[in-house]
Symmetry: C2
Subunit: 260 residues, 2 copies
């Protein structure tokens, strides 16, 4: 905590910590360093509370924020407001920003796992909504199929509201695909052209819910993984829901059935 | 259609049509003129198809867009690209923009109406999501309680994806409040502190679903209108859903029960 000393305030935009944070705006840096940026008081506190490991916390000017016990020995640096604001991604930046390790959450072993498989969703906000709903509905793992936007994208992290620290987020590979097939007899693809309403199928056993891209629908991969296709019945001439809402409705239907 | 003639292109930012569109960015102008702006190819076509009445359609430069039959005698004006882009609200403007009358949809008379009551939601995107889900789930009317963001806000219109032309959107007044009480024996308020899970109550008879503000929860009005409070059970330490998702889950649960 000695880093809070006034003479330690970061005044130069070329400071190495700031350079590193800028480099973490790129997916390839995040993936090689296994670290990402979290902005905002609530998001940072939420990450710490959920057991996330922060590498460094930056405060804007003399922002009044104190670490709770859970932040342990995390170095805290202050940054002069103008430079902090240039660093923040949001238009009205909140006065705190942190670098966190990618959480290493172990998928729960369950007799009836609930996988969310995100198959090519491109909108970062929609993916964040999906992750938040997956965590809230008790999904055991969120799986990113190829073509999906990076889940550690700043906008996705903000929309996820702490979901990144609460549910394992993994990339799809051959081994995981085999795990999903072995543990999930029910693998439903949500698609507007299906006949079967989503609530007419049992989602209580091992289940994978596959959500395709808003613009292009599911990939061949998504279609080949699915054991059945379902639709959410829509009225009043509405043609579609966004991927975040469609996935949330499916996930909470699974949660509802599993509480019975 | 003779307004498509090349010499009729709008080149001046002080053109009266452009001035009017700028003034419609203000809520008070929208409300006094009972008109709003719709941006984007899909949104404009969707509004026309759903029977919305366009007053004027603007195209960016030589954008390739032709009216379908349903646009009838709507004047179409071309605007030079730079001026069009300054007029558009979105960062990557689509090449079309239209002024529509506020739709005059008559709430369906139903033995078992489904009202969505939005009680102070401030985020325009969340309100748009709620309207889209309300239309899709077969709600009969969307009711805006005091303190709710303007449903004809540009961001709400874009997130609503045509919902404004598909479901009546009305402001709450004393008379409507009495109608809701008379026609809806079930008036459920979604709130995290409630005991009762949302799926343990019948939503098949006349129902009002009340969704409070993300930040401040329901108003005294919302609480006094409700006959019961329900929660969406949340797992993995998640504390809340956004108002758009929470409302969508509730609305599709009502739709699910009503299909049975």
């Amino acid at each position: 905590m000695n880093e809070l000393a006034g003479d330690d305030i970061i005044r130069s935009p070329t400071n190495s910590t700031l350079k590193r944070i800028r480099s973490l705006r790129l997916r390839r840096t995040r993936e090689s360093e296994r670290a990402f940026v979290v902005e905002g008081v609530r998001a940072v506190e939420d990450g710490l509370k959920a057991g996330g490991r922060a590498q460094v916390i930056l405060l804007r000017g003399d922002a009044d924020w104190r670490p709770s016990n859970s932040s342990g020995e995390v170095p805290i640096r202050r940054v002069v407001p103008q430079i902090f604001d240039e660093l923040a991604e949001t238009e009205t930046p909140q006065p705190i920003l942190a670098v966190f390790d990618f959480p290493r959450l172990i998928p729960e072993t369950s007799l009836a796992p609930l996988f969310l498989v995100v198959d090519g969703v491109r909108d970062p906000g929609n993916l964040g909504t999906l992750l938040r709903s997956a965590a809230a509905a008790g999904a055991t793992t969120a799986v990113m199929a190829p073509g999906t936007v990076d889940p550690y994208n700043g906008k996705t992290v903000r929309a996820g509201m702490g979901a990144h620290f609460r549910i394992p987020i993994v990339s799809l590979d051959e081994s995981l695909r085999n795990t999903i097939i072995a543990s999930c007899p029910i693998r439903v693809l949500a698609i507007a052209s299906a006949e079967l309403p989503y609530d007419r199928i049992s989602l209580s056993r091992g289940t994978a819910i596959i959500i395709g891209s808003e613009a292009h629908g599911p990939s061949n991969f998504g279609r080949s993984l699915a054991t059945c296709e379902v639709r959410i019945p829509l009225e009043n001439g509405v043609e579609s829901l966004n991927a975040g809402v469609a996935g949330s409705v499916m996930l909470f239907e699974a949660a509802r059935q599993r509480r019975r």
